[in-house]
């Protein structure tokens, strides 16, 4: 069931564990994950609630620190990097989309999208941000604050924000989880559109139709990889 490891993985995890302190003692969230993601691949992480899929995604993004094992992204050992080095790494290589959008409420849509570009020192941050917003269909909403936007619109801003720096890796945590079906479809199209621009996509989802569009589906249960399914497209690529 497990796919053979790609020759030049963008992401590679070996024996990754995550243990968090809970009220009733330590909780083992991840219990030894081995996973490699190839450049340009779209991987869907699925599994029941509490299986550890979001935690795994966060570890891939350096947003959570693994308790054990190794996490490499684009050749860099994420477990060896400090907080700020991780931030700089994300700035150059990663984009993240959350279920709850996580836009900064005091910033307009345009400013939200421009922020990662600015952090990366991009001189054309605003032009690129505006372009990205127009691409997701929000050209008329540049100066709106998040509170003035609908849920779907907010997620489109979040998507534009993640995509604007043209990241090598795009991580998405249930990107359509808070949206209705039609709005979710729009977001899905946009997301896979980004992937088509060359990004590697790793996505946590509960939505079967979203998982169906991925090259590979990785199923988690109780902090372990229960199995994988390679989809036709991935097989075709091989």
């Amino acid at each position: 069931m497990t796919s053979p490891a790609p020759a030049d993985p963008v992401l590679s995890l070996a024996a990754v564990t995550l243990t968090l302190a809970g009220n009733a003692g330590p909780v083992n969230i991840l219990r030894g994950i081995d996973l490699a993601v190839a450049r340009g691949e779209a991987v869907g992480l699925v599994g029941p609630s509490g299986s550890g899929k979001s935690s795994l995604l966060m570890i891939m993004g350096g947003l959570e620190r693994a308790s054990g094992g190794s996490v490499r992204a684009l050749g860099a050992d994420l477990t060896a990097l400090g907080e700020d080095a991780l931030a700089r790494f994300r700035r150059s290589h990663m984009g993240v989309v959350f279920q709850s959008f996580h836009l900064i409420p005091t910033m307009t849509a345009l400013e939200n999208v421009a922020t990662p570009l600015e952090l990366a020192g991009d001189r054309d941050a605003f032009e690129k941000a505006a372009e990205e917003l127009r691409r997701v269909g929000l050209g008329a909403r540049l100066d709106h604050y998040p509170a003035q936007l609908s849920g779907g619109e907010q997620q489109r801003v979040a998507l534009a924000r993640a995509a604007a720096p043209r990241p090598d890796i795009l991580l998405a945590d249930e990107p359509t989880g808070n949206l209705d079906g039609a709005t979710g479809d729009v977001i899905m199209d946009l997301l896979f559109g980004l992937r088509d621009r060359g990004a590697t996509l790793v996505m946590v989802t509960h939505a079967p139709e979203l998982a169906e569009r991925c090259d590979r589906i990785v199923r988690l249960r109780d902090g372990r990889i229960e199995g994988e399914t390679a989809r036709a497209r991935a097989a075709a690529a091989e």
Binding site: S54, E64, R88, H102, E118
Partner: protein, 847 residues
């Protein structure tokens, strides 16, 4: 109501976690007011209880440079169980410098007492010997006791010889307690007590010398003070005798205490206003967290009225708790510190829990709580059930319904009205209230302005590529930020401090600037007629002395205006001081050089007609006097009625010789009097001048202008310190609100930091942005505080002090910087958690 009560009770299960700032703000403001009120009450009660001791008897009759006539003395003896005669005047004491011919001199306030002194209370001496023994020790010389400060200044030990006038005394003890000394504590020289008999040979009570005689009466226990006073007025209507009795033993002190107390209560109200900002913010943030509950309750059928009642009850209960904590603190702290304070206060104080100030503070606290919570509560009632289905975080900008707006305004009016009424200084209270309201409005506008400016700048090209700066500006200008809370609380606190700073700096400049221009080095008083020429020669012979001016000096009490007794005369309260005590009077034949008449004409040379007078133009205007009016002045127990022939400019600030009243020489030339001299000399010559005059004229008292200015400066310093303590209470409250605002914003910052980290921001960059945001807010608050403080300072200097106002930049810069720093500290204190938080945990917790 019962349903509302039940729901409110259930809502209380959530605990008081979100209400720490609410409780602290209310408690601090109430505590400050209650504490000031308690101390004020303790002093007033102390003064009332000790009235007879402070006064030195049940009643006191005061006369200026004369003793009682035999008739007056007989009148007193007939009505009192005991009479004590005291003479009080300023003089110089000196001691021989060991091993040198020189003498060390110091200014003192001398009290000559008879054998019955003190009628009430006891004199404290070290060593503890009876006063009678101390004043009549064995040996040839009479005895003397003096305050420790004076003995220290002279470097004299017990048993050594001290000269007063031409008489030597033996210092027999140090005066540790003067029962009737409270009123004298503001005089220029420390106290010396000698016996009347000892004084007889000092040559200091020659005719015309400036002294005051006091007759203290011990009356029979049931005596009617008013009846005795009326009897005195009937018996000696024109003798210029001033009356005081135990019911108001120290009117000056009581007045000062009441004024300062009232002023500090107003400062306490400012603190309550600052606290109100915190209270309002706490309630708003609580209700924001409750939006979902409120919307759910509405979905379940709760009316707007029920919602209002639920949270009104809940907040009301908390307000009561806050006020109660404040009252306990406000009553407890003075009570605990009472023994310590009582020793340091120059007046008796009776520390206890007084209900009056407690009620006052509680009412202020509850009104403030109402004013600052009605709006958010009224808005809560308008939350719609649909709120459940839309973005709950978006702030509701709607105004509350009209009745709530009206109720809030009514509460504010009631609070201001109460403050004006209870403080006893309504003008100051109303101006202060107007100042606070105006400052709050200005700060609210400034917060909006800063927000708009921040938004504008955030969108300008300037911030392109500087996400830290833009994030900071976005936080200042963006929706739902902490801008208004921080600017309001910090700004109001800083404004009070800025006002105190501006006034203090201006007062100091005012005093300092009067001096260098052209001020005399010394005033000399009590120069006898036959000493005038030798004095001029002696002083003029000192190297460096530039100028000597002299004038005859008498003192008189204005007893009638146009024939109407002064007590019944209706004059402007601003000029009432003129009638309260005795005033300086001089005479001159020709118009003195430099005199500037504003109206009327000087009398002709050798004028021999009915008495004429030249009066101060400014004071005359305040009193409503005009040319041709007559003033009756009691001088040496004799009434002199003179017609006002001219008004002239009198500038008391130039420190030269200035008299309110100048009479033609006719009536006064023959009266016993002394002369006043001012001597202009550089500081280097002052020592030699004082020595020369002191050696040649032991009866003449020299008052150093520099020293006097120093005393005034020190007194001002003490006043400024008291005021600063009050201002500190406001600032502490402001800081609590600030911390509250920073704490409330922490969640938001944790989230922002997490998002920014996700998109590649380093911690340094995030910290820099947070610091910048805090500093910007502090800067905005400080700037408004400076402007408001300058306007208030200008108002006080121009209208109260009637002096020129100059902006004091040093104090201003310190306050703006202090504001930025305070905001920065509070901001950074709450930046640690956001910086340390792992993005994954933060962001997932919100999913």
């Amino acid at each position: 109501m019962s349903v509302a009560l039940r729901i409110a009770r259930r809502e209380l299960r959530g605990g008081l976690a979100g209400f720490r700032v609410f409780l602290a703000c209310l408690a601090l403001g109430v505590a400050a007011i209650a504490a000031v009120g308690s101390v004020r009450m303790a002093i007033t009660q102390g003064l009332d209880r000790e009235g007879a001791v402070i006064l030195g008897g049940d009643a006191e009759l005061r006369m200026t440079y004369r003793f009682a006539t035999p008739e007056e003395r007989a009148w007193m003896e007939a009505r009192a169980e005991a009479v004590s005669e005291i003479v009080d005047f300023r003089s110089m004491v000196s001691v021989a410098d060991p091993g040198g011919a020189d003498r060390r001199r110091a200014l003192t306030q001398v009290k000559g007492v008879d054998g019955t002194y003190p009628l009430t209370g006891t004199v404290g001496l070290a060593p503890a010997i009876p006063l009678a023994d101390a004043l009549s020790p064995p040996g040839d010389l009479p005895g003397m006791v003096m305050a420790e400060a004076l003995a220290g200044r002279l470097g004299v030990e017990i048993g050594e010889t001290v000269r007063l006038g031409t008489q030597d005394f033996t210092l027999t003890a140090i005066l540790t307690r003067e029962p009737d000394g409270a009123t004298a504590s503001f005089s220029l020289g420390p106290r010396t007590i000698v016996s009347r008999a000892g004084l007889e040979r000092s040559g200091l009570l020659a005719p015309g010398t400036l002294y005051e005689s006091n007759y203290r009466l011990r009356l029979s226990p049931g005596a009617d003070l008013d009846a005795v006073r009326a009897d005195l007025d009937r018996s000696f209507p024109d003798d210029g005798i001033r009356w005081r009795d135990r019911r108001n033993g120290a009117p000056g002190i009581e007045n000062v205490v009441n004024r300062l107390g009232a002023f500090l209560v107003i400062v306490g109200l400012a603190s309550l206003a600052v606290g109100g900002v915190g209270v309002s913010a706490a309630v708003r943030s609580y209700l924001e967290r409750k939006t979902e509950t409120i919307a759910t309750l509405k979905t379940l059928g709760a009316s707007g009225g029920t919602i209002f009642a639920v949270y009104f009850l809940l907040i009301g209960l908390l307000a009561l708790l806050g006020v109660a904590i404040g009252l306990v603190l406000g009553a407890g702290v003075p009570l605990l510190l009472g023994p310590l304070l009582a020793d340091r206060l120059p007046v008796p104080a009776l520390f206890a829990v007084y209900p009056g100030p407690m009620v006052e503070a509680a009412v202020y606290g509850l009104l403030a709580a109402l004013i600052f919570t009605l709006w958010p509560l009224a808005r809560a009632r308008d939350i719609r059930a649909a709120g459940l289905f839309r973005d709950l975080a978006a702030p509701d900008r709607a105004w509350p319904r009209l009745p709530y707006v009206m109720a809030t305004l009514a509460c504010a009016a009631l609070l201001i009205g109460l403050a004006a009424w209870l403080s006893g200084i309504p003008t100051l209270a109303l101006w202060s209230a107007a100042g606070i309201v105006a400052t709050l409005a200005a700060l609210a506008l400034a917060a909006r302005g800063a927000g708009a400016l921040a938004r504008r700048v955030a969108r300008s090209r300037m911030t392109r590529g500087r996400p830290g700066l833009r994030l900071a500006l976005a936080a200042v200008g963006g929706p739902g930020g902490e801008t208004s809370g921080v600017v309001l609380s910090l700004g109001l606190g800083l404004m009070v401090l800025a006002t105190v700073g501006q006034i203090d700096a201006n007062m100091r400049t005012l005093i300092a600037q009067e001096l260098p221009g052209r001020a005399p080095a010394y005033f000399f008083v009590d120069i006898q007629n036959d000493q005038l020429d030798p004095f001029r020669a002696a002083a003029g012979g000192i190297a460096g002395v530039e100028q000597i001016e002299t004038a005859p000096m008498l003192r008189g009490v204005i007893t009638a205006i146009n024939g109407i007794p002064a007590r019944d005369a209706k004059i402007n309260p601003e000029a009432a001081w003129v009638l309260r005590g005795d005033r300086g009077v001089t005479y001159a034949d020709a118009m003195p050089p430099g005199t500037e008449l504003t109206e009327g004409a000087w009398w002709p040379p050798n004028y021999a007609g009915p008495p004429q007078m030249s009066f101060s133009d400014e004071v005359g205007r305040e009193m409503g006097l005009k040319l041709g009016d007559s003033l009756t002045v009691n001088i040496l127990g004799r009434d002199v009625t003179a017609t006002i022939a001219s008004f002239r400019v009198v500038n008391f600030r130039d420190m030269g010789i200035n008299f309110l009243m100048v009479l033609d020489p006719g009536v006064l030339r023959g009266a016993p009097h002394t002369h006043l001299a001012t001597v202009y000399a550089p500081p280097a010559s002052e020592g030699a001048l004082l020595r020369a005059v002191g050696d040649a004229f032991p009866n003449v008292t020299g008052i150093g202008v520099r020293e006097a200015i120093g005393r005034v400066n020190a007194a001002l310093g003490e006043l400024a310190t008291a005021t600063r303590w009050g201002a500190a209470a406001v600032l502490v409250t402001g800081f609590v609100v600030l911390i509250g605002a920073a704490a409330a914003g922490e969640r938001r910052r944790v989230f922002e930091a997490a998002v920014l980290k996700t998109f590649g921001a380093t911690r340094g960059r995030i910290l820099g942005s947070f610091a910048l945001r805090a500093a910007l807010l502090g800067l905005a608050a400080g700037t408004v505080a400076i402007v408001a403080g300058a306007v208030a300072g200008w108002g006080v200097m121009t209208f109260v002090m009637e002096a020129e106002y100059r902006f004091a930049p040093l104090s201003a810069v310190a306050i703006v910087a202090g504001g930025a720093l305070a905001s920065l500290l509070a901001g950074l204190g709450f930046a640690l958690r956001p910086l340390a938080a792992r993005p994954a945990r933060v962001l997932r917790a919100r999913d």
